[in-house]
Amino acid sequence: MTIVKTSINRRSFLKVSALAGGGMMLSFSWLAGCKPTPEEVVTLPKKWFELNSYIKIGDNGVVTLMSPNPEFGSNVKTSMPMILAEELDVDWKNVIVEQADFFPERFERQFTGGSQGIRQGWRPLRTAGATARTLLVHAAAQTWQVPANEITTEAGVLYHKTSGKKAGYGEMASVAAALTVPGDIKLKDINEFKIIGTSKKNVDGPKIVTGKPLFTMDYKTDGMLIAMIQHPPAFGLKVKSVDDTEARAMPGIRDIFIAKILHDDYVRNGFDTTTFPEMAVVVGETTWQVMNAKKALKIEWEKINDSTYTMRGWGGEQTVKVPAGLESTREHLSKMAALSKKPAAVLRRDGDPEGAFNQAARVIERTYTAPFLAHNAMEPVCCYAHVTADQAEIYGPVQAPEFTMQTLAARLGLPKEKIHIKLARMGGGFGQRAYGHHLVEAAVISQHMNAPVKLMYTREDDMAYGIYRPTYTATYRAALDKDNKLIAFHVKGGGIPEHPVHANRFPAGAIDNYLAEGSAIDSNITIGAFRAPRSNFIAGAEQSFLDELAEEMGKDPIDFRLELLERARTKPVGQNNDYDAARYAGVLKLVKEKSNWGESKPDVHRGVSAYFCHNSYVAEVLELVIENNKPVVKNVIAAVDCGIVVNPDAAINMAEGAIVDGIGNAFFGELTFKDGAPEKTNFDKYRMIRQKDAPKAIEVHFVQNDEAPTGLGEPLFPPIFAAVANALYKARGKRFYQQPYLKEDIALG
């Protein structure tokens, strides 16, 4: 039994009694525009009672659970309320899930990213559910005049067994809502879980498959105008002048102006990446009119000068350099190659790596590179804003509203309390939507127009805006002694404009002499989080290198990794190794068993890879065949340790998606530049994985344990790059060092 003190989470349990009963106005605004399903009609209660920020109970026992985090496809809108429902002890059939607005006084950490939603929401959500249940128990105790500890609950019903009394939650909700929140709350034992660990379908599924308005793109209010931006066609350029004579005269066009996104002296936070500080804006009545007017703009661009801005991020305050220049991929690659040869910052050193390399009988050295990647979420960047003199209403796709809130307040000159951010279901995020520039842009445009506007990027605007996965390089070196034993390991990572090295990750801790270094080159191309930042490159490089190293040492690639992990578990080197070697080994052993590793199938080429990031452990075996001289992925077997799996089928969906996405990026993902301009701005040139390229099967196996749950959105993505590379090696007989691996195929389209 776990007892938690509610005081630590007090702010989540504020009772805003004014909202009790009235909250549903907001809750069902979405349904106004579409036909409610029969269940929604019959079960709506007459009166709602709010037990805490997350939970409202209707007089008929129907329960509304607020899903605090923005939803971008990882299914938190289903799995987070499942955790509430579990501790509240209700029947999932009687639950309505609502998306919470951004409301930091009422909800914990409304941030979607870093695969942290479930991990960090676990305790607060359980506590919120258990708190509400306890209030209901106390309400029944008071009403029935019996001791609270004699009352039990099951599926939304309170029982007092000895007297035979029972009542639905709805009957006790009004009494419960008036009680004070108890100090100590008992959480369920894991073996008492009834909802967690069972598969529940996406709560928005019916709306998605019937085309109901769910996304920002679909949002509309009376008098709303459409806005589009025209940003410079290349990084390193800015607007010099705009001739809008023709565009202005086109039908439906209301205004054309230059918008300045941030104040010059604004100290940015880590999510304030604003690639183009000034952009031309066209506002009109319909999208088609605005698109056409945008094409009719005659804009002169000029080169930017070197500049800097101040950023206050997690690493404290720093000055960020934005160099002038029109960069190209060719120059990026030669600069990164030069970087690998130069000394870099030492991130970790164990033992005497230099000495060991000097004594080595053999040194194996390999260099890996990967290009910039565009996020390409299927919903292009967009945002609705209605800013008036004294308040702002924002409806948009945003992963990190807390950070954008600060920026909006500063830019609009409004107090935070007057800015209302509603969290739209996002048509994908992948890290890109953590950067709230589009919210600020929409708000600035609305303020200028004094009207509600929906800002919409075209696909080209979206793909050419920046906030990319950086381009990276890593050089790995391993020293072997005369007995072919691994005596030293060295990784030197570089990138534009950041390096990819996580110095304390495996194989750090498993090798006596270890050195990790990193250095980076400034750029005016903006970057941002992209599904497992840095890991999404370094895992592929590291796990490809370990595969080659195992082969050089004459070892099986899984056994070789297990040997290293055994060393890290029993006699770890150094202090800050950031992984649990036993759990790491656990997924490798599981994948070995499930894939029948070691059994060879004719013409099937297999690659293995394993990685730990975002608190979860993953091992993957990929099987491919060559058909018509092209690789076809037949199967991927994944073993995952993410602790307790809250919603198994949804977790498998997420795992499959990360694998498919990773294979796509490993095969085809690439954004190149010439004279500062991205060479691909739409899906005709930017090759994405499609149905034909997808693996024919994926098997996902979870390690069964009672560890608190960790995330899944990212962890399966990074290792697949190396599983692909290692399988391709088996098929082609040559190693793959440069992503994307199927460059020839991309050219063929």
């Binding site: 019937t210 999208t287 696909r459 996405d661 005709d684 499609r690 024919k696 099967a697």
Partner: protein, 152 residues
């Protein structure tokens, strides 16, 4: 501007728009049918897929002037009770992640099954290859199409 009489989801609709306006924007902004999505505007992603006389087409690259008297079906009108076998199979397999591409996927799948009630894996892959899903739900899409084929 010009007036067009359209047949959308079995209803007569009249719009007065620039003849070059893609059907996508007519549906979304003039007829308030926002289930059909914008993803690329150049017929490369399939998010905007509708049926024209029962065939799957990309509405983003289809000017309204080209419709003539062909009938348009959107995701909203795929089945009167919103229970098309493909929609049901999508729920059964819990296909969507973010969901943005799914209306387009469903429309392409429904047209495929209409012309070929029992498609092979390869036929499914060919038919669905024009519909991108960045979330990577391709395996579930394929499985759901097979279920829908079996149930219809």
């Amino acid at each position: 501007m010009a007036v067009f009489n359209l047949n959308v989801n079995g209803k007569k609709q009249t719009v007065d728009v620039d003849p070059k306006t893609p059907v996508l924007w007519v549906l979304r902004e003039h007829l308030n049918l926002v289930g059909t999505k914008y993803g690329c505007g150049i017929a490369q992603c399939g998010a905007c897929t509708i049926h024209l006389d029962g065939n799957a087409v990309r509405s983003c690259a289809l000017p309204v002037s080209a419709i003539g008297n062909k009938t348009i079906t959107t995701i909203e009108g795929l089945a009167e009770k919103e229970d098309h076998p493909v929609q049901q199979a999508w729920i059964e397999h819990d296909v969507p992640q973010c969901g943005y591409c799914q209306a387009g996927q469903i429309m392409t799948a429904a047209a495929l099954l209409k012309n070929n009630p029992n498609p092979s894996n390869e036929q499914i892959e060919n038919a669905m290859n024009g519909n991108l899903c960045r979330c990577g739900t391709y395996l579930r899409i394929k499985a759901a199409i097979k279920t829908a084929a079996a149930n219809s």
